[in-house]
């Protein structure tokens, strides 16, 4: 079952909506598009989305960011704000496919989600499949691990993105590893 705080994440305003005054134009968002569309799409694929859906979610992230741009106050980097919108888009899509009261069993996820991705079919992609299923069950934790993998962030920097203190982030990452382990247990023989 999805953690309760995912609901809060969907509902809460994205990072960056703080009272600090700033003015960001659509051109600034457009400048991020060539670099950040691929990043978001690749993240969504890592979470188990097939390519077409990953591209659609990346595009939708930019659409929502553009619509929400007047509310962006510059409290975070624009790219950080965009990332948090992307995560909300992913969680909303996940929730649409998997209502909270329908799935407790991890084995149900493949049928409900996007296991038809060609890049997840090969036997050597056991770890990748495991991570994708983990991302569907624990999307916030998967986001934290992915940002750590992709961004090379220090604990404190990652904490700013996921809304935790440095110490809490350290503990959280260790918990994420423990939560991920069952999803990779079948990969030990791969």
């Amino acid at each position: 079952m999805l953690p309760i705080d995912d609901d809060a994440l969907i509902d809460r305003p994205p990072l960056g909506q703080t009272p600090a005054a700033a003015c960001t134009t659509p051109d600034a968002l457009a400048a991020l598009y060539p670099e950040w569309y691929p990043r978001l799409a690749r993240y969504f694929q890592s979470c188990g989305c097939h390519r077409a859906l990953a591209q659609e979610l990346a595009q939708e992230s930019f659409v929502q960011a553009l619509r929400g741009l007047p509310s962006f106050r510059g409290g975070a980097k624009l790219s950080t704000w965009l990332w948090s919108i992307g995560q909300r888009v992913w969680l909303a899509e996940l929730r649409r496919h998997r209502p909270l009261d329908q799935v407790d069993d991890v084995d149900d996820l493949d049928a409900l989600m996007f296991a038809d991705s060609p890049h997840l079919k090969e036997p050597e992609d056991c770890v990748q499949r495991g991570f994708a299923r983990f991302a569907m069950a624990h999307p916030e934790r998967a986001q934290a691990l992915y940002l750590f993998y992709w961004g090379g962030l220090k604990h404190g920097e990652l904490g700013e993105v996921i809304g935790r203190t440095e110490r809490a982030t350290t503990v959280y990452l260790a918990e994420c590893r423990a939560k991920l382990a069952p999803f990779l247990k079948d990969c030990d023989d791969c």
Binding site: P26, P34, R42, L53, V63, R67, L173
Partner: protein, 191 residues
Amino acid sequence: MTADNTDPRDEAWLRGLAGVPADEAHVADAAAGRRLRASLDRVPAVEAPADGWADVLRRADQGVPAALPPREAANGHARRWAGGLAAALLLGVGMGGLWRPAEDTQWRGAGEGATDAHWLSASPHADARSLAAALRGWGATVTESTSAPQTVWLDIRCPAPCDARVGARLAELETALAPDGRLRLKVSDAR
């Protein structure tokens, strides 16, 4: 990348995940982290479409709800009660006749025509987008267009040999491709 108060095995694993050298005392943990990193590295890259930003501008513009004309706003108070009563009656009749406890309870519609189906949805944009993404994932070509704020048209093309999952998904929505592999599907607001 260092942090206090963490298990050194976890820290070695995280360093492996981040692709930086780890303490040799925890080789296995670092290797496990590197293995996850290697698997994530295998996720194929995606290029930004050339006209992608133009599409963002178009969609962001279309998604803004139309402003209520001033005259409508002025008369709205009196009509709200009558409208609400009518909506409640219609909803009651509709729910009684159309309720199905399946996945697509939000999908409603005439759906009789194979070439120009009409579905009513509580969230037409999101449902249309999700359906289009699924169909594209199975090889169909889907073009989305919007004629009104809460109406989305999907022009679906899937000539033979078409992935059977396309037909199966459309069958769940009580419609189907025409013999030439085409379907024009209108998704509009059920509320």
